[in-house]
């Protein structure tokens, strides 16, 4: 059985191909003007890598912002279900996923089969997303990738009090002007980011494996703070966190094939 999943977001598009449960290909591109074009392009790339053509795919599910009207998809599903399923596929002990992307933040819980139990999404603003870290790292004059390790260079992270990322930016500049260390500020920012995600996910978190996905998952400082706040280890996933949605879609497509087969 060969299935595919395609995730068309607002910034990037991903495609994953599974063959009898094994990962054959995973591709990521920047989005094109239309979701149909994005999905077709990324799908073609994945097929090329896998050495397959579209007819070889038994079922395909599309997800993400641009999931509707994808011509080669049999069905579309929410990125929430797909994200949950994708993380579960990587590690079946996982029950809670916190996805901190560039533009939103979600908390997802799944059951012992990886099926969606509940979810919560950040509604309001940049404060709970990767955008917050981008703004602050710029204010600090630090590369985004270098922000995470700062948490390991100090025992005294500074408290960033402002909830709003705009004001937090001012607060950062103010602290810098006062001569506070970039390390302590950076570590404080990582902690503040983790606290926002904690506030979102705290009420939802269930027993079992816990993981973090999305761009911010690459920030080791945030991960460490989350482990402290949630009092649990964050399971590191074996794949690029950006493909989790498409991966989950491909896994869910397997079920589609099975149910169609059962009907036949």
């Amino acid at each position: 059985m060969i299935t595919a999943g395609v995730d068309v977001g607002s910034l990037s598009a991903e495609a994953v191909i599974l063959s009898d449960g094994a990962l054959l290909a995973a591709e990521i591109i920047r989005v094109r003007p239309s979701p149909v074009e994005s999905s077709s392009t990324v799908m073609s790339r994945a097929l090329e890598v896998a050495g397959l053509c579209l007819d070889d795919i038994d079922a395909c599910i599309s997800t993400g912002y641009g999931r509707d009207n994808i011509p080669f998809a049999n069905k579309s599903m929410s990125e929430i279900s797909c994200h949950g399923k994708g993380a579960y596929w990587c590690d079946a002990s996982i029950r809670t996923i916190v996805d901190i992307g560039g533009q939103d933040c979600k908390a997802i819980t799944v059951d012992e089969n990886g099926d969606l139990v509940d979810f919560k999404m950040n509604e309001k603003c940049a404060a709970g997303t990767g955008r917050f870290l981008e703004i602050i790292s710029k204010a600090l004059g630090v590369e985004l990738e270098a922000l995470g390790p700062l948490s390991f260079q100090t025992e005294t992270p500074l408290k960033i009090v402002n909830r709003c990322s705009v004001f937090a930016e001012y607060e950062t500049l103010f602290l810098l002007a006062e001569g506070k260390s970039i390390v302590e500020i950076g570590a404080g920012v990582n902690e503040a980011m983790a606290q926002r995600a904690f506030a979102l996910a705290h009420g939802l978190k269930t027993d079992g494996g816990f993981t973090v996905t999305g761009g911010v998952a690459k920030n080791v400082g945030v991960i460490r703070s989350l482990e402290t706040l949630f009092e649990t280890e964050v399971i590191k996933l074996p794949v690029d966190p950006q493909i989790i949605g498409a991966l989950g879609a491909a896994v869910l497509a397997e079920r589609l094939v099975e149910s169609q087969g059962a009907r036949e």
Partner: protein, 467 residues
């Protein structure tokens, strides 16, 4: 939120307050200055219990420093003594377990609940954590919010359920509140009622601030009393009520005097203790300690008038400010900062504007009627529950009557219903009385919305530009 150690289960926040006030008592009676205290601190810490050290380390340094200032220290010490006694009483009472516990919402005086045989604790005292500690009461607020409730609920009323749910504050036998001040304040009570099964007794607050309105609210209160008597298993004790009310009458008379004294130019009453004023009224009203506290404040103010001693530096021109509804609970020390740095004195505000109402102690009925009238007119309750005109007129009258130079309206975001008339108020002040005002958002128990530096900076800019 930090889990509560088993020995402090149900009393953690009360113990924290007790220890805090004991520390303030000790510090203010043993040292002349904050610097002396800090110099002795490392040595002292060695002999103090670890818990006390922990509480001490959690104080806001600016608050401690401001408390030592000669104009503040006596009153702060007086409050600390009274509060230490009060919280010890609460802890002892909870341990004895001989009375049912009623958590009551402020705008109500504790006298009635004592007379009904309860051990009464005011839910608003949770905000004291916001005032004293670096970390405030945001942990309790966040716990409440993490259940899914909106972050625009009044943080005074969000901290309380957070403390109860986490075990810092014992689950009461009943919660009592009038419908005032507002919907935003009511949510937490319904939550605790549903989640913990605590009986919730709410009686209607009158929209009309008239004699008829008093009748209506009194009738509602009497029905509430019938429900409460069943819970406390005792009937209203007229003698206890009378004793408490006679004492609270003395306190209220002093509040009336204090209001008049603040009209003096320059204002002889410093602003640091205002949060403690509310705290005293919702805890010890009806006790001699409350009367003595306000007597001291009145005496000191009168002495300053007589001697010409100012509460602002000699080189500063007095800027007389009327504030608005939320004393920003998390920054009591900022009023001291405003006095010292800007010469800005704190005339009054929506939470310290007490109308002296003497309760007629002839009978239970007259006493209940007077108690209801006080509840109706309690600062902020009065303005919140009724027409917008009441708020606008009250604040404008205050500003004019007290000859304010400006209005500082650091408004509680949760009072979203109140913000609707804030522009009406500031426009009227400016257009009709040439008194400029500054309006900006805070959230009274959550410093993250407007941290201290930003608060100060906004007022500084306003003073520079407008005054």
């Amino acid at each position: 939120m930090e889990p509560v150690p088993s020995e402090l289960k149900g009393i953690e926040i009360f113990q924290r307050f007790l220890t805090s006030f004991n520390l303030f008592k000790f510090a203010l009676s043993s040292f002349d200055t904050a610097e002396d205290l800090m110099a002795a601190a490392p040595e002292l810490a060695k002999s103090m219990p670890a818990y006390d050290v922990k509480v001490f380390m959690s104080f806001k340094p600016d608050l401690v420093a401001a408390s030592f200032h000669p104009k503040n220290r006596n009153v702060i010490l007086k409050a600390a003594e009274a509060q230490a006694e009060y919280w010890q009483g609460v802890i002892d009472g909870l341990k004895a377990g001989d009375r049912k516990v009623s958590d009551f919402c402020f705008t109500q005086g504790p006298e009635l609940f004592h007379a009904l045989g309860f051990l009464p604790i005011c839910t608003a005292t949770g905000m004291a954590a916001g005032s004293f500690y670096r970390d405030g009461c945001e942990d309790a607020i966040d716990l409440f919010r993490s259940m899914g409730f909106a972050d625009h609920y009044c943080t005074v009323h969000a901290a309380y359920p957070g403390y109860v749910l986490n075990g810092n504050w014992r689950v009461p036998d009943v919660m009592v509140k009038p419908a005032a001040p507002c919907v935003s304040g009511n949510a937490g009570y319904q939550v605790l009622s549903r989640k913990l099964g605590v009986p919730l007794v709410v009686y209607d607050s009158s929209y009309y601030l008239t004699e008829e309105g008093v009748d209506h609210q009194l009738a509602a209160l009497k029905r509430a009393i019938t429900r409460l008597e069943k819970i406390s298993s005792s009937t209203l004790d007229e003698d206890v009520l009378r004793a408490k009310v006679e004492e609270s009458n003395r306190t209220y008379a002093l509040l009336g005097e204090l209001h008049e004294l603040r009209k003096h130019k320059p204002n002889p009453d410093p602003g640091l203790h205002r949060i403690l004023d509310i705290l005293m009224l919702v805890t010890t009203l009806g006790e001699p300690s409350c009367t003595e506290y306000f007597q001291l404040i009145v005496d000191e103010a009168q002495a300053r008038i007589a001697s010409g001693e100012r509460i602002i530096p000699a080189d500063k021109k007095e800027l007389r400010a009327v504030h608005t509804w939320a004393i920003n609970v998390y920054l009591p020390e900022v009023y001291h900062w405003l006095e010292e740095n800007l010469g800005m004195t704190y005339l009054s505000c929506g939470l310290s504007y007490f109308i002296d109402h003497q309760i007629d102690t002839t009978s239970v009925d007259t006493m209940l009627r007077g108690w209801v009238q006080r509840t109706m007119n309690f600062p902020m309750g009065r303005q919140s529950i009724s027409y917008g005109d009441v708020w606008v007129d009250d604040m404008v009258n205050l500003a004019v009557d007290m000859e304010a130079d400006c209005g500082i309206f650091a408004g509680n975001v949760a009072c979203k219903q109140a913000w609707a008339i804030s522009k009406l108020m500031s426009d009227k002040l400016e257009d009709e009385h040439d008194i400029p005002s500054l309006r900006f958002e805070i959230e009274c128990c959550d410093k993250r919305l407007c941290p201290a530096d930003e608060f100060k900076q906004r007022i500084e800019s306003f003073v520079e530009v407008r005054l």
